[in-house]
Amino acid sequence: MNRRWVLPAAFAVAAVLLFVVAPLALSPFRLDQLGRYLCFAIVAVGIGLAWGRGGMLTLGQGVFFGMGAYLMAMHLKLADAGPGGTPDFMALISSDGVPWWWEPFRSEIVTLLAILLLPAAVAAVLGLATFRRKVRGAYFAILSQALAAAFAILLVGNPTGTGGSTGLSGFRGFFGFALSDPANRLVLFCTAAGVLLLMLALVRQLMVSRYGELLVACRDAEERVRFLGYDPANVKTVAFVVAAFMAGIAGALFVPIVGIVSPNDVGIVPSIGMLIGVAIGGRSTLFGPALGAIAVAWAGSALSEQFPSGWTYVQGLLFMLVIAFLPGGLASLAWRRVRPTAPAPSAQPVPAPSGGS
């Protein structure tokens, strides 16, 4: 097959699988599950860009995911309560009415704009603050992790505003459509599938562009990029912002599909959990992160149904084995098999002499 046709063919196969085969072959329950995996796959596409291509190990994607999810959840709760109404959980624990910072999200348009812009804006501020000061490598990873911890603590510590540790749940409608209707759930699934394909196409375009070259250059030799007259901080911030943007959208889709969001979905543990699929699938490839995320999420559900504690061991072992012995992920195996003489795509940033880590 001509190499030029590989990518469009892959997209076509993915589209047929997601839009035709999955809705026909799966029960409504399984379709919902797959929809949830697709949300994680969208996050993974962003992580693939920031981590695999840009070398920024972000341990805080749960924050952006959670922002999108909580914004959507707040809007759904307010919409369920009706105009001027107070969401049920809030009325139970406090009589003060709706906090002022909830009010804007009664509007559908404000909510959608906030989901698209707010995670990206936070990522832009944090990215510029850290990358401009050449905070990178391990320092950046730890900071992003602390951000996830702080965010989860803030959510738990504010029960009247965010539902505390139980989070927000019990949504009835989604922009005027009943969530209980299977037809509407099918539309939700197709939306998630469409967003995933769109994001893959977006990352693909970024990767082949001049920007994509610069991003990889920043990963492999940041100082040289600087000497060539580019500002690596801007290059890296863009990738970080795109990743946050994707995580925010994924979070917003996650809420109507799963029906609940809580600090358990956004803290340190889920944030790092989002990385494992990316690592297994192949962090620097286009499809690897998404496929890995779906596979890991599926394996997670299947195994934890059967062996409640077993999945944690498997997850831990996967982290150890894949990262230590197969840093390029499963994609690197496939690559070697297809073209045994060609070098595998560089999955590992060459340690710069500046010792940025």
Partner: protein, 294 residues
């Protein structure tokens, strides 16, 4: 005045816990550049060691004192095993060590859950540590004073070992210039392993100290690891004295902000302060002076 003394003491006390958790981390982080996410689980292992010793020995006072060296050994052995099996393979991939050790920490946590149960267990403090101490009209809990003293003692012992012993010289040489240290006849492999033993052992000691603060559960490590890493980042990688200053600064800041707001807001503000601080000094309070192009 009362509030001032109490808040400063609370801050120092919180800082001493951070210091115990971060001291070993600063050592291993600086030595090999590896990021050990399982450090928190070594702390947990130390805490459960104290719990087991309590059940074996019965007497609370004796078991606490016996637990300290045993927990040091338990943490140290765990660290050496981790270093020898996984970390030495991934020398120049510091970010990957973070994920590998995260896998280790998941496994250790689940192991603790399966062995000791998910519910927290209590290790009662010995009689000579219960109740407060009166100093100049102020009363301080004895357990917190003990932890403060333990943290200071651990720091002094580590600082003295690094400064005056042959092993300490080898460790410092390896941190500053690994290839040159190797050329000078220092076995950096052996030094790495010993450093990891000491650093992880300190995590075990921290775990014993934490049993005095409340019940212990398999999640114990997760709640301390992020703060411990922040201490290392603020202090400067591989800087023991930086860790000390950073731990106490963060402890006091946390207790101070907490006093006028809430614990969760204090956490978020401390994080914002750290990001702001890194704008001024991205490399932390202290840096290792080397001839590499840092």
């Amino acid at each position: 005045m009362d509030v001032l003394v109490t808040q400063v003491f609370n801050g120092l006390s919180g800082g001493s816990i951070l210091l115990l958790a971060a001291l070993g981390l600063a050592l291993t982080f600086g030595q090999m550049g590896v990021i050990n996410m399982a450090h928190g689980e070594f702390i947990m292992a130390g805490a459960y060691t104290a719990y087991v010793m309590q059940n074996v020995l019965g007497a609370a006072g004796l078991s606490l004192l016996v637990s300290l060296p045993i927990a040091f050994a338990v943490g140290g052995v765990l660290g050496v095993v981790l270093e020898a099996t996984l970390l030495r393979r991934m020398y120049h991939r510091p970010l990957d060590t973070l994920l590998v050790t995260w896998g280790v920490s998941l496994v250790l946590q689940q192991l603790a859950r399966d062995v000791f149960g998910t519910a927290g267990v209590d290790v009662p403090a010995p009689a000579w540590l219960s109740g407060p101490v009166e100093v100049l009209g102020f009363s301080f809990p004895r357990t917190r004073l003990f932890i403060l003293l333990l943290a200071v003692a651990a720091f002094l012992a580590l600082a003295a070992a690094l400064r005056y012993t042959a092993l300490g010289r080898r460790i410092r040489a390896t941190v500053q210039n690994r290839p040159l240290a190797e050329t000078s006849g220092i076995s950096t492999r052996a030094t790495d392993r010993l450093t990891f033993f000491i650093g992880s052992g300190l995590a075990g000691v921290a775990g014993v100290a934490l049993t005095l603060m409340g019940s212990i559960s398999p999640n114990l490590g997760t709640s301390y690891i992020v703060d411990a890493f922040l201490v290392v980042v603020v202090g400067g990688i591989g800087q023991i004295r930086g860790a000390v200053i950073a731990a106490f600064l963060l402890g006091v800041a946390q207790s101070w902000i907490e006093y006028s707001t809430t614990a969760s807001i204090a956490k978020v503000l401390v994080f914002a302060l750290i990001v702001a601080f890194l704008q001024v000094r991205p490399q932390g309070i202290f840096t290792v002076r080397t001839r590499s192009l840092a």
